[in-house]
C-alpha cells in the first residue's frame, strides 16, 4: 500500500507528514505537482504549507497544477484523500469539498495547540476515533476560518467531522480560535472519502513533541486506504 504525498512549490509540511505516516507503518511517495500520474496510489495527502506562495488566494493556483487532474479523478473514484491546512484549502478550491477558508478573525497567524472534538466517525479521517473524543493538535494557519454558503446543508448531512472545542469538549466562541463558522475544524464530502481539516496531526505524533493525539487521525486514514484497496 502506498500513500502519495503531493508536493507543490511552497509546500513545506511534506517531510513532516511523511515522518508521521511512516511512524504508523505506511509506505509513502512524494509526487511533484508537475507530474500527471499518481500511479494508482492507495491514499492521497495534500500537506500543509504555502503552495504557490498562497498568491492570489490560498489554493487558488494549486488547483491548476498538472497533478490535480489525477487527484480529482482518483478522489472521485473513491480513493481516500485528505488535505491538511493548505491541503484543505486546495481541496476546497478544487471543488472536492464545499466552502473555503478565509483570514482568521483577529487577522493574525495562529500557531498553537488547540482542542478539537470529533463530531463524526463516518470519514476516512475519523473512522478509528470516537464521537465526542477531544484531541489536542497544533493549529498553524492564517486562513483557517471556514466559511460556506450552504452551511446548514453541510451540518444537516453530517459532513462536519471535527470542531474546535475546549479541553472538556465544550464548543463556544471562547474555544473558537479563528472565528471559523460553527467552530468547524474539518469536513468530509458526501461520499466520505475526502476530508479536509486545519490542525496538523503530524505535529502531534510523538510524546516528545507534546502530544500523540494526531495519530488516531493518521491511523484512521491508513486503515481507510487499506480498506479501499481491499
Amino acid at each position: 500500500m502506498t500513500i502519495a504525498v503531493v508536493v507543490f512549490p511552497g509546500t513545506n509540511c511534506e517531510h513532516d507528514i511523511v515522518h508521521a505516516l511512516e511512524l504508523a507503518g505506511a509506505d509513502t511517495e512524494m509526487v511533484w505537482h508537475r507530474d500527471t500520474d499518481l500511479r494508482g496510489a492507495d491514499g492521497i495527502v495534500l500537506p500543509g504549507g504555502f503552495a504557490h506562495g498562497d498568491y492570489l488566494r490560498t489554493g487558488a493556483i494549486a488547483r491548476f497544477s498538472p497533478i490535480m487532474d489525477d487527484v480529482v479523478t482518483l478522489a472521485t473514484e473513491g480513493t481516500p484523500t485528505i488535505g491538511i491546512c493548505n491541503g484543505f484549502q486546495i481541496l476546497c478550491e478544487a471543488g472536492l469539498l464545499p466552502g473555503g477558508l478565509v483570514a482568521n478573525r483577529d487577522l493574525k497567524f495562529i500557531c498553537e495547540p488547540v482542542h478539537i472534538r470529533v463530531e463524526s466517525t463516518d470519514s476516512v479521517l475519523t473512522r478509528a476515533a470516537e464521537v465526542g473524543q477531544v484531541l489536542r493538535i497544533p493549529l498553524n494557519s492564517y486562513e483557517g476560518n471556514y466559511v460556506a454558503d450552504n452551511i446548514q446543508r453541510i451540518e444537516a448531512e453530517g459532513d462536519v467531522i471535527l470542531r474546535y472545542s475546549g479541553s472538556g469538549g465544550e464548543v463556544d466562541d471562547g474555544t473558537n480560535p479563528n472565528g471559523s463558522t460553527n467552530s468547524i475544524a474539518g469536513i468530509t464530502n458526501a461520499a466520505r472519502n475526502v476530508a479536509g481539516f486545519m490542525p496538523h496531526p503530524e505535529r502531534a505524533s510523538e510524546a516528545i513533541l507534546g502530544s500523540t493525539d494526531g495519530m488516531v487521525l493518521i491511523e484512521s486514514f491508513l486503515a481507510s486506504a487499506e480498506l479501499a484497496r481491499a
Binding site: 511552497g10 513545506n12 513532516d16 515522518h19 500557531c111 516528545i208 513533541l209
Partner: protein, 723 residues
C-alpha cells in the same frame, strides 16, 4: 551633521556615502578615476556595513580556535562539528534601519538574508530566532513598528517554511527612532555537504539563480545601513528591499539539490551590494578574477544602467560557480524548481573583475581590492562622561517592600510579561524538531534519527550594557550559557550582533571596544568559540545614539538529549524549590525594579568571575537530566522567575527566608530548581527556599499574590497594549 550641501550638488562619491580620502584610495588602486559602475561597486563594498572598516581592528579579539569549529568567522556562517558526520551552521544579522523605514519588509528581508547565509553553506535552515528593540509601547508609532516587524518575521519565516523558535525583546526610549531587528538562523548538514564561497577552476562559469534583478534596495548597504538617521528618512523607502518568501523557498530547495548532487564548486548569496559583492567575493577569495556580462542578468526592469544592476539588492538571488560540464544540469535543476537562472560570468586567472555591458567594459578592477583593500579605521575611543554620574548613584530599594505590589507592576511590563502574543504568530513547530518551544529560557531542537539535540538562546541587555559595556556584555554571554544549560545542553558556540551608535563618536567607540572585550573574555571563560558575528554601527537618529546593544546567540549541544528536558510547566504540589548558584549581592543597576518601580537608570552592574560562571553553568547542565523544572533567574529576579514557573504550572509556591529586596535582585549566575525529595545532587552552592503547593505565590513576610491574578496580569501585558 555639518554638511549643508544639497545632495544634488555633492560630488558623486559623496552622494554614495564615500569620503574624499576613500575616493582617493580608489584612484590609487586603479591608477585613474573610476568609471560610474566602478564607483558604485567601491562605494558599497567599502561601506561600513560590508567592510567593517571601523570594527575590524577590534574583532580579532574573538577566539574561534576550539577543535570542534569547522568554519570560523569570515564565511557566510560559522560551522561546528556535532559528531557522526553532523555539522551545525549558525549566523546572526541585523536589519535595523530598513525595519524603521518599512517594518514589515525590513524584517522580512532580514529573515530572507540570514537564511541564504545558512543554505549557502550547504545546510538546510531548520530554525530562526530574533532579538528586537523598540521604543515604549505607549507611543502609537512604536506599536506600529513592533506589530509590523513581528508580522514581517512571521510572514516571511512561516511562508518560506523555517520555524521561528523564539527570541527576546526590550523596550526603551532610545529605540523609538532606531528600533533594532536582529535575526539569527541555524542549519544542519552532513559534513560532505559543506560548500564554501571561494571559487576555483579557471573557465568555470558563474550562474545567477533566483529572482530577477530590479531597482529595489539600491544602496541599501551604503545609504541605509552605514549612516546615521535624520528626521524625514522614512522617505528612504525605495532603498528597502522587498521580500518574496515563495521565491526563497524554491531557491532553498533548488540549491540543496545542487549541493546533494555535488553540482557546484562554490556558491555565494547576494545580499548587501548584490552582484558587485558576490562576484568580487567568489573571485577574490579564490585568488582569481571573473568576466561578468551584465547583459545576461535577468532583469525585472529592462532599462537599468550597469551601476544599478551591480548595486541592486533585490532579494532571493544566489551566485553559483559550476564547471562547464555541469552547467546544463544546473540550469535543468533550476527549471525543475521553477526558478530563473542565467550564466553571467566566467572565472579567469584574474586578478581583475571585468564587467561588460552592451559589449563595452564598464568596470575593470582588481577583484580582491573590493574586499581586501577597504579602508580600516582605528577610531578614537574615550570613556563617556555619563558613566561618572551613573556609577556614583545607587539604586534605591525599599527594605520593607510588598512583593505582591511590586510583582503586579513587573508582570505587566511588556519586557517581562508573556510573549505568546509574539510567538503564536510564528510557526515554531515545523520539521517536528521542537522539543522545547518559545517561552522557556532556551528552545531545544532534536536532530531526528540521532540522540543529539541543539539548544539556542538569544540574549541582550541594553540598559545594563549601557551602565557598563564590559560587564554587561560578559553577563549576556553568561546568561545565554545558563539558558541553554537548563535544557541539558553544554554551551558550544556563539555568534554576536553588535548594535551600536555612531562610531565616529569616541564615547560610542569606547562602548564598542569594552563590549567586545566583555564578550571575548566571557566566551574564553566558558571555552565557547565565537564563530561569527555582525556589526551594526550608525544606530543614531537625530544625533542620539542608541543604548549600546550587543546581542549574542548561544548554541548549546547535548548528546544524549535528556529524556524529559526540564520545562517551566512541570512543577507539582509537594516538590521542593531550590536556589542554585550565587547569593544575592544587591545587584539593582539596570534591574527591572529600578527601571520600572523607581523609573531610574543608575549604578554599576556587579562583576562576575570566570570560575563561578563555569561552575554554575555546569551544574545546570548536569541537573537538567534529572530535574523537572530549571529556570534561569534574570530580569525581575527570583520573584519573576518563580512567578513564571507557578503561572505555567498552574500551582502556588510557599517561599521562606528570602527578603523582599532579595526577591528582585538581579545578581547573575543563579537559577531555580524544582524537584521531589530533600536533596539536590549538585556541587554548586544551593539552598532550599520553599515548597510547591496552594493557590498563591506566598513570599512569607514579603507578601503573597494569587497565582490566578498573577497569571492574568502576566498574560495580558502585551495584548492589552496591542489590541
Amino acid at each position: 551633521m555639518t554638511t549643508v550641501d544639497a545632495p544634488d550638488r555633492l560630488p558623486d562619491h559623496r552622494k554614495l556615502g564615500m569620503t574624499d580620502d576613500e575616493y582617493q584610495g580608489v584612484i590609487n588602486i586603479l591608477g585613474r578615476e573610476p568609471l560610474a559602475a566602478e564607483l558604485a561597486m567601491y562605494s558599497v563594498m567599502w561601506s561600513e556595513h560590508c567592510s567593517y572598516k571601523s570594527s575590524r581592528t577590534h574583532l580579532g579579539r574573538f577566539k574561534s580556535d576550539q577543535p570542534w569549529v569547522v568554519v570560523g568567522p569570515g564565511e557566510n556562517a560559522g560551522v561546528v562539528d556535532l559528531g557522526d558526520g553532523w555539522l551545525a551552521a549558525l549566523r546572526i544579522e541585523s536589519h535595523n534601519h530598513p525595519s524603521f523605514v518599512e517594518p514589515y519588509q525590513g524584517a522580512a528581508t532580514g529573515v530572507g538574508g540570514i537564511l541564504r547565509d545558512i543554505f549557502t553553506m550547504g545546510a538546510r535552515p531548520i530554525a530562526l530566532w530574533n532579538a528586537l528593540r523598540f521604543g515604549p509601547l505607549d507611543e502609537p508609532r512604536n506599536r506600529y513598528l513592533f506589530e509590523g516587524v513581528v508580522s514581517g518575521i512571521a510572514g516571511y519565516g512561516n511562508a518560506v517554511g523555517v520555524p521561528t523558535l523564539g527570541g527576546e525583546v526590550e523596550f526603551a526610549d532610545r529605540f523609538s527612532k532606531n528600533p533594532l531587528v536582529n535575526v539569527m538562523a541555524l542549519g544542519i548538514l552532513k559534513r560532505d555537504q559543506l560548500v564554501l564561497s571561494a571559487a576555483s577552476g579557471v573557465g568555470n562559469v558563474a550562474i545567477l539563480l533566483g529572482a530577477a534583478t530590479g531597482r529595489d534596495g539600491i544602496g541599501g548597504a551604503s545609504i541605509l545601513a552605514s549612516a546615521a538617521f535624520e528626521e524625514g528618512d522614512e522617505e528612504k523607502r525605495p532603498n528597502v528591499q522587498v521580500g518574496d518568501p515563495f521565491e526563497e523557498k524554491k531557491l532553498i530547495e533548488a540549491c540543496l539539490e545542487l549541493f546533494d548532487r555535488n553540482l557546484v564548486v562554490a556558491i555565494q548569496d547576494l545580499g548587501a551590494a548584490g552582484i558587485s559583492c558576490a562576484t568580487s567575493e567568489v573571485a577574490g577569495s579564490g585568488g582569481l578574477g571573473m568576466d561578468v556580462d551584465l547583459d545576461r542578468v535577468h532583469l525585472r526592469e529592462s532599462d537599468m544602467n550597469p551601476g544599478e544592476i551591480l548595486m541592486s539588492e533585490s532579494q532571493e538571488r544566489m551566485l553559483a560557480v559550476v564547471t562547464p560540464e555541469n552547467e546544463a544540469e544546473v540550469l535543468a535543476v533550476a527549471e525543475r524548481w521553477e526558478i530563473d537562472a542565467s550564466t553571467i560570468g566566467t572565472i579567469t586567472t584574474g586578478p581583475e573583475l571585468v564587467v561588460y555591458s552592451g559589449g563595452e567594459i564598464v568596470g575593470d578592477v582588481p577583484a580582491a581590492s573590493l574586499a581586501d583593500d577597504a579602508p580600516r579605521y582605528d577610531r578614537p575611543a574615550e570613556r563617556p562622561d555619563y558613566l561618572d554620574e551613573a556609577w556614583a548613584s545607587e539604586p534605591h530599594v525599599l527594605q520593607s517592600l510588598d512583593a505582591a505590589e511590586v510583582l503586579r507592576v513587573l508582570l505587566d511590563d511588556p519586557a517581562i510579561g508573556d510573549r505568546t502574543w509574539i510567538s503564536r504568530q510564528y510557526d515554531h513547530m515545523l520539521f517536528l524538531n521542537t522539543v522545547i518551544e518559545p517561552g522557556h529560557d532556551a528552545s531545544l531542537l532534536r536532530i531526528k534519527g540521532t540522540k543529539k539535540a541543539l539548544a539556542i538562546s538569544t540574549d541582550g541587555d541594553s540598559l545594563r550594557t549601557y551602565l557598563d559595556p564590559r560587564r554587561g556584555s560578559a553577563r549576556i554571554v553568561f546568561e545565554s550559557a545558563l539558558n541553554v544549560a537548563v535544557t541539558g545542553a553544554t554551551p558550544y558556540a556563539l555568534v554576536d550582533n553588535l548594535n551600536f551608535g555612531n562610531p565616529e563618536v569616541p564615547g560610542v567607540m569606547w562602548q564598542f571596544i569594552e563590549s567586545v572585550e566583555g564578550i571575548a573574555w566571557a566566551c574564553e571563560a566558558l571555552d565557547v568559540p565565537v564563530v561569527g558575528g555582525n556589526v551594526s554601527f550608525y544606530n543614531q537618529t537625530d544625533g542620539v545614539d542608541i543604548y549600546p546593544s550587543p546581542v549574542v546567540g548561544m548554541l548549546g549541544f547535548c548528546e544524549p538529549m535528556p529524556e524529559q528536558p526540564p520545562r517551566l510547566d512541570r512543577a507539582e504540589e509537594g516538590m521542593t524549590i531550590w536556589l542554585v548558584g550565587q547569593d544575592a549581592q544587591g545587584d539593582f543597576a539596570a534591574s527591572a525594579y529600578d527601571r520600572i518601580i523607581n523609573g531610574a537608570l543608575g549604578g554599576r552592574p556587579c562583576d562576575v568571575d570566570a570560575e563561578t560562571a563555569r561552575r554554575v553553568v555546569e551544574a545546570a547542565t548536569t541537573l537538567a537530566y534529572e530535574t523537572p523544572v530549571l529556570h534561569d533567574i534574570s530580569i525581575g529576579g527570583l520573584a519573576v522567575a518563580l512567578a513564571e514557573v507557578a503561572i505555567k504550572s498552574g500551582v502556588g509556591f510557599e517561599i521562606e527566608g528570602v527578603s523582599g529586596p532579595d526577591l528582585f535582585d538581579e545578581t547573575p549566575l543563579r537559577f531555580i530548581a524544582v524537584t521531589y525529595g530533600d536533596e539536590l545532587p549538585t556541587n554548586a552552592p544551593h539552598r532550599e527556599i520553599g515548597v510547591v503547593g496552594g493557590d498563591a505565590l506566598d513570599f512569607g513576610d514579603a507578601g503573597a499574590i494569587d497565582v490566578a491574578e498573577a497569571a492574568n496580569i502576566w498574560r495580558n501585558a502585551l495584548p492589552r497594549r496591542m489590541e
